[in-house]
């Protein structure tokens, strides 16, 4: 009856069933998160987290409410009620220049086809727009032009006061799934398989009207585009449902590089610099990108890939980083990466240079046959792959965070306060560095002691 209990102390429960998943034991010396705080306010799946300032963040989800939290104490600061259906997008909104108070504003949109501008300091509903034909799926603020755009079945341009400036015609029934800003007053919208580039025309002497013009359609993707991000000043990246990752030039909208099939287990370079890595079609949708100066990190199916922009190749991969699809990843300092997945787990990875001896690529699933949590030992594993194709780096699992009982939708990293995760189990968990928290508490204690006049210098 109690097999897990008798089975021995070390192994976590998930290991009872055989899986190629890399695991780590209970000893996680590099995992700094030794405190957690469960935040409860939502009644449904929590899908979005957005940072407001150094110590606050907002969460939103399918229950239609937006909650503002203190990331340090876990205190619930505000609850914003206004939407009647699930929230579909949430962005921070730069304060109006004209406005006296510099309150933090956020813009939310929901399946009830409204957009609401909130004041996050007072909880006040500043403005509300409800003249939409379709559900807005993405929002973007163009700060240079003092406008914001909403993407649904069409693309609308609004000013700071929430007046509609102009809009495109009906684009598609599925609607715009992602929007980014690129130079020259242009935006890129992902609509199904297509990328559409629009240019915004600001009012000039001749015409006082705003206008938005479709410039170009890019048709290189074979399937729906799921993710679209700016990675630097010269390029943006798109990822599709079938595992194509294309790096575009940001100015002339040409393909710089394309990794269009991750499913081939033996990576090989071709003229197009394509790398095929993934095994199963259902495993290769690219859900999320994150990036730093030199690398783009992609969440591909259950795995994680690191693509180096200079070398134009995948330098490290972890094909089955989780039991289930990776939904969100975030880059940490110190070459660390955090991923969260539908399986409810959050994992911390570190990008390490491979040692010369261990230059061979090793199927990741292989580790597990050699004991749990001994990831460092792969250097001695048998060599199977060709030298020249092997990635020069590896992603090492340095810790996992177990707390959520359902899929972890998103995570947010605070430099000073730790990590926030939100999940389909209606919870938000604040993960904290226990050592640092202890130090902070001591600091607070001695401050209070000093206030009370209870602090004496030892002789």
């Amino acid at each position: 009856m109690l097999r897990w209990l008798i089975g021995g102390g070390r192994e976590p429960q998930g290991l009872a069933e055989k899986s190629p998943l890399q695991t780590i034991g209970e000893e996680q010396t590099q995992n700094p998160y030794t405190e957690l705080l469960v935040l409860k306010a939502h009644h449904d799946i929590v899908r979005f987290l957005v940072q407001l300032d150094e110590y606050r963040f907002a969460s939103a989800g399918d229950d239609g409410i937006v909650v503002v939290w203190n990331a340090q104490t876990g205190e619930k600061l505000l609850e914003l009620n206004g939407h009647t259906q699930k929230i579909t997008a949430l962005i921070t909104f730069p304060s109006l220049e004209a406005c006296e108070e510099k309150n933090q504003l956020i813009l939310t949109t929901s399946a009830d086809r409204t957009v609401i501008l909130w004041d996050c300091d007072t909880g006040r509903q500043v403005r509300k727009v409800s003249c939409f034909q379709s559900t807005i799926k993405c929002l973007i603020v163009l700060q240079r032009l003092d406008v914001w755009l909403s993407g649904g079945n069409d693309l609308c341009v609004w000013n700071q006061k929430l007046d509609l400036l102009c809009k495109t015609g009906h684009l598609s029934d599925t609607g715009i799934s992602a929007l980014i800003e690129i130079p020259k007053n242009c935006v890129v919208a992902a609509v199904g398989k297509e990328l559409i580039i629009f240019r915004l025309v600001a009012p000039t002497e001749e015409s006082l009207e705003w206008d938005i013009l479709e410039i170009k359609r890019l048709l290189d993707h074979q399937d729906n585009i799921l993710s679209l991000v700016n990675v630097n000043d010269v390029s943006f990246v798109t990822g599709s449902h079938v595992g194509e990752m294309i790096i575009w030039d940001i100015l002339d909208w040409t393909v710089q590089a394309c990794e269009c099939s991750f499913w081939d287990p033996s990576p090989q370079l071709d003229t197009q610099q394509e790398i095929k890595l993934c095994q199963k079609p259902d495993d290769i949708s690219i859900h999320h990108f994150t990036w730093d100066e030199e690398n783009v990190f992609a969440a591909v199916g259950r795995g994680l890939y690191v693509y180096n922009l200079h070398m134009k190749r995948v330098i490290a991969c972890q094909k089955s980083a989780h039991d289930s699809n990776v939904l969100h990843i975030a880059k940490l300092p110190n070459r660390q990466l955090i991923s969260c997945s539908e399986d409810g787990s959050v994992r911390i990875w570190e990008l390490r240079e491979k040692q010369q001896l261990a230059a061979e690529p090793v199927p990741t699933g292989f580790f597990n046959m050699w004991g749990f949590g001994r990831v460092n030992k792969q250097a001695s594993q048998p060599v199977k792959k060709q030298q020249e194709n092997s990635p020069p780096c590896s992603l090492e699992l340095i810790g996992d965070l177990i707390g959520h009982s359902s899929s972890v939708e998103m995570l947010l990293y605070f430099e000073d306060h730790g990590l926030v995760t939100c999940s389909a189990d209606h919870l938000i968990i604040l993960w904290k560095n226990g050592e640092r928290e202890s130090g902070l508490r001591s600091l607070k204690l001695f401050q209070k002691l000093e206030e009370n006049g209870g602090l004496y210098l030892a002789v």
Partner: protein, 937 residues
């Protein structure tokens, strides 16, 4: 080798007595004072000086104007308690030391009868012949039908242990004051109601008389009045005067609460406190005391009666019972308070002192005590204490004092501190008007008093009241000892207490009085009176004309109260002598069934007539009283019939515990007996709301059980140590089992090891059957989980597996434990399976002491500044961490996992200390990435 007498000492006291005490005598100055009753043989817990009662009790007596001092009721209302003790005799004793009652309602200087708002007096007296010592609390209640409108009562706490009375004086005084305040509040309410009725009667009578006079006037218009008419006119005048007088009285009694409020905020606070209590405890809805005037509104249902002009002196009138004198609710409340007092001071003095010291020390550890202490009870009592004794600037038992008190208990508070507190309290004023003059008058008066004079005054009073040279000895009065030099102690006491203070106090007084009442100490009013003044006028300082002879101050003050009325009154009083007592006598005349023999009117105790020679009478109004009768009915047969030499010790398990069997002095026994008794008490006095003081026994018993089961757990399971380590280090322990009772029992037992997050409750969940969630581990540190058969219970087991990082799991059914390794030294000390401790309560205490030690380590660790913060800017975190580690290891002597326990406790301390409002912010779930191991039997 154990010699025979050692054994005999516990079986027969007499034989032990014969054993000669032949050690070479030490010089006087080196000798430690012997146990006071060593001469009478016996161990320290033997029956002291042959008291005839088995344990302490509370006696309420009245100085009845008809029959003299008489006992009214005892608490507990049980014949076994006071046994053959002569309550009548003792009532006589205790009532005779009440010198305040000598102030009558009609002072010479004033025209109207004035109410004396008399402060209670508090006296300690001893009767060595009876072997009884008592704290006596005198109070007066108002009764319109009584002489001078007052009825003197007293409540006495009677104990065979003189030390107990002396050392618990402050506490007794505070508690009895509450009871008295409650009684008096109710009495004022009742008195006002009575006055209103009387006024209506008088008004009606006046109307009737007026009509008659008019008729007579009309009947003979010859220009002169018949004698009959004149008589009627006189009668009418007297009625009108009576009306004015009663109105004045009503005004006085109604003004009381306001005067109090104005006079001192402390008092009002106190009143409010008692009233709060009253309203809490009363089962029926209690009128809100804050609207005090509402209490005195008239009852519309009353129909006025005609009052006869000529009243007969009626001694056959029925005096009101105590319950009638007060409002029933207040009376019930008072009884509850008294039985609370009885409960509170039950048991041996050393037990009381120990628990007081214990509480004081716990209070001192206000930063750490939330972790492991069962604090609800202590907090309550502490709060109560603080509230009850507000006038003292220093708390009643400053911790340092109580520590000093440990080896040689001292008597009362030190006089010095008491005096200082008295001085620091401003003199209570009734009116703003004339404040200055009043104070001046008082000051001059008090300064003019010579201490010696005071004593004489007091002494005379004593002599007056006590007719026979009995074995009662005045041992001391509070203020006079403060004045007297301490050196004049030549004579030795019959009861040599260790500290010199007592000796000097006692002796100085006894030599002066040469009477045989032992008035050990008096403290007439509640520390509001200047020292000197107290002695001369112990009864009523801040009230109006209680000291009629010192008329200057009083009259001055009186004038300032109500000048117009005063003038009016003086005119009236010149014309006719007061007769209101007579007229009031007749109202309650219906009580003819009294079989109480007529007695000459009992004047004040100070009048040296034969009050004392009148034998105390039994109170016989069966139809009236409820508890009163019960008490006395019980009392009388015991006095008459029961054989002498009642083996008192055998009767009372509590006392048995205290006296004979030292090994039984364990908490668990104690708790059981007390709880038994309290249940008996509550059944016997069903009017007393027993819910008023719910703490005590149940928690004691709970501790005992928990200790016992914890002990069992430690003996039964070899892996108890890692389990306890899990609890101490904040890792949630899940107790898994099928049988709810078994799981609950173990969870309760183990909860003694769980550190609390705040004062409110331990983070323990006794029984859950639903799958656990991450929030449960954040909230609970010890969980009892139901094991459900696999298909249904798979979910629960799965979550347990998933969250295994946060939990240790104890499987009761397969006797297995899964938790991290423990290699420290702390838990083996805490939970040694080979321990010699047999009793649950003893083990509980052992755990408490070990944990307290641990708390102090955690405190040191958490509150050492340089351990947590860098000493200067350049220090890195690593250096600080290294310092922490070495402190924990070297200074606190912690090894391996013990460090984590202290660190966890320190985190809790930090959190608790920095929280603005405790309990508001939720605790974080702290955990470590450490492997778990499986233990199996």
């Amino acid at each position: 080798m154990i010699s025979a007498p050692d054994v005999v000492a516990f079986t027969k006291e007499e034989e032990y007595e014969k054993e000669p005490y032949n050690e070479p005598a030490l010089p006087e100055e080196y000798s430690v004072p012997l146990f006071p009753f060593a001469s009478q043989g016996a161990n320290p817990w033997s029956k002291l000086s042959g008291a005839k009662f088995s344990r302490d009790f509370i006696l309420i007596s009245e100085f009845s104007e008809q029959v003299g001092p008489q006992p009214l009721l005892t608490i507990p209302n049980d014949i076994k308690v006071f046994g053959t003790f002569d309550l009548n005799y003792f009532s006589l004793r205790i009532m005779s030391v009440d010198y305040q009652a000598s102030f009558v309602g009609h002072p010479p200087g004033s025209a109207y009868p004035k109410l004396n708002f008399v402060e209670d007096s508090k006296v300690v007296l001893g009767d060595s012949k009876e072997g009884a010592f008592a704290y006596v609390h005198h109070l007066t209640l108002y009764d319109l039908e009584a002489r001078g409108f007052v009825r003197p009562f007293c409540m006495a706490y009677i104990s065979a242990d003189q030390h107990k009375i002396m050392q618990q004086f402050q506490e007794l005084s505070a508690e009895f004051s509450k009871a008295s305040e409650c009684l008096k509040t109710g009495n004022r309410k009742a008195f006002a109601g009575e006055l209103e009725k009387k006024l209506k009667d008088l008004d009606y009578t006046r109307t009737v008389l007026h009509t008659e006079t008019e008729i007579q006037k009309k009947a003979n218009d010859k220009g002169f009045y018949s004698s009959q008419a004149i008589e009627k006119a006189n009668e009418l005048a007297s009625v009108e005067k009576s009306i004015i007088e009663h109105q004045d009285l009503l005004k006085q009694i109604r003004s009381y609460p306001h005067r109090k409020l104005k006079g001192s905020p402390l008092c009002s606070g106190e009143t409010e406190h008692t009233q709060d209590q009253a309203s809490q405890a009363a089962t029926t809805s209690n009128p809100d005391e804050s609207a005090d005037t509402d209490l005195y509104t008239c009852r519309p249902a009353y129909t006025p009666k005609l009052i006869k002009a000529k009243s007969t002196k009626c001694f056959d009138k029925k005096l009101k019972t105590l319950e009638e004198l007060c409002d029933t609710e207040y009376f019930t409340q008072t009884l509850a308070q008294l039985s609370h007092i009885e409960h509170m001071f039950r048991g041996d003095l050393c037990y009381l002192l120990t628990s007081q010291i214990d509480r004081a020390l716990l209070k001192q550890q206000h930063i750490t005590n939330f972790l492991f202490e069962d604090f609800v009870e202590v907090d309550d009592r502490v709060a109560e204490k603080q509230e009850s004794a507000p006038p003292r600037p220093v708390p009643g038992r400053p911790p340092s004092r109580s520590l000093e008190e440990c080896p040689i208990p001292q008597v009362l508070v030190s006089v010095g501190s008491y005096k200082s507190s008295v001085e620091s309290v401003p003199i209570k004023m009734e009116q703003e008007l004339g404040d200055e003059e009043y104070r001046e008058a008082e000051v001059t008066e008090s300064s003019s008093f010579d201490p010696q004079e005071n004593l004489d005054y007091l002494d005379m009073d004593m002599k007056g009241s006590i007719s026979s040279g009995e074995s009662i000895e005045v041992l001391g009065t509070e203020k006079s000892t403060a004045v007297l030099p301490k050196s004049d102690s030549q004579a030795s006491l019959t009861v040599p207490l260790s500290p010199q203070v007592v000796r000097s106090k006692a002796v100085s007084h006894r030599t002066i009085s040469e009477d045989s009442i032992e008035v050990l100490s008096t403290c007439p009013s509640e520390a509001l009176i200047p020292d000197d003044f107290k002695a001369s006028c112990p009864s009523a300082i801040n009230e109006e004309e209680s000291y009629a002879d010192d008329s200057e101050g009083a009259i001055h003050f009186q004038a300032s109260v109500s000048p117009p009325e005063l003038g009016e009154a003086e005119e009236g009083s010149l014309e006719t002598p007061p007769s209101q007592i007579d007229s009031s006598c007749c109202i309650g005349k219906e009580s003819d069934s009294l079989r109480v023999p007529l007695s000459p009117p009992a004047h004040t105790p100070s009048e040296q007539d034969g009050v004392v020679s009148i034998p105390p009478q039994r109170y016989r109004q069966k139809d009236q009283g409820f508890r009163v009768d019960f008490a006395v009915e019980n009392a009388s047969p015991s006095r008459d019939n029961s054989p002498e030499g009642f083996p008192a010790d055998e009767l009372d398990p509590n006392r048995l515990l205290a006296s004979r069997d030292v090994s039984k002095t364990s908490l668990d026994n104690y708790s059981d007996t007390t709880s038994n008794m309290s249940s008996v008490a509550s059944t016997s006095s069903d009017r007393t709301p027993s819910s008023a003081h719910p703490t005590g026994p149940s928690s004691e018993r709970h501790k005992k059980r928990a200790g016992q089961n914890a002990l069992k757990f430690i003996r039964q399971y070899p892996f108890a140590h890692p389990a306890i380590y899990s609890l101490l280090s904040g890792r949630t322990l899940v107790v898994l089992g099928e049988d709810e009772a078994v799981v609950r029992k173990l969870v309760t037992a183990l909860s003694i090891f769980v550190p609390s997050h705040s004062h409110f409750a331990k983070p323990v969940k006794h029984w859950v059957s639903s799958p656990l969630h991450i929030t449960d581990f954040q909230k609970w540190k010890l969980i009892g989980l139901q094991r459900v058969a696999p298909p249904a219970g798979a979910g629960a087991l799965h979550t347990l597996g998933r969250y295994s990082r946060y939990t240790s799991v104890l499987d009761l059914d397969s006797k297995a434990l899964r938790c991290p390794l423990y290699r420290g030294a702390l838990v083996p000390r805490l939970a040694d399976h080979r321990t010699q401790i047999k009793r649950g309560s003893t083990y509980y205490l052992h755990v408490q002491s070990t944990l307290t030690q641990l708390c102090s380590k955690a405190f040191l660790y958490a509150f050492c500044h340089h351990l947590h913060l860098p000493a200067h800017d350049k220090e890195t975190r690593e250096v600080v961490a290294g310092r922490q580690a070495s402190f924990l290891k070297l200074n606190l002597g912690l090894v391996n996992e013990d460090v984590k326990v202290v660190q966890y406790l320190a985190e809790l301390l930090k959190l608790h200390y920095t929280q603005e409002a405790p309990g508001t912010s939720q605790p974080t779930l702290r955990f470590d990435y450490v492997p778990s191991f499986l233990y199996k039997i």
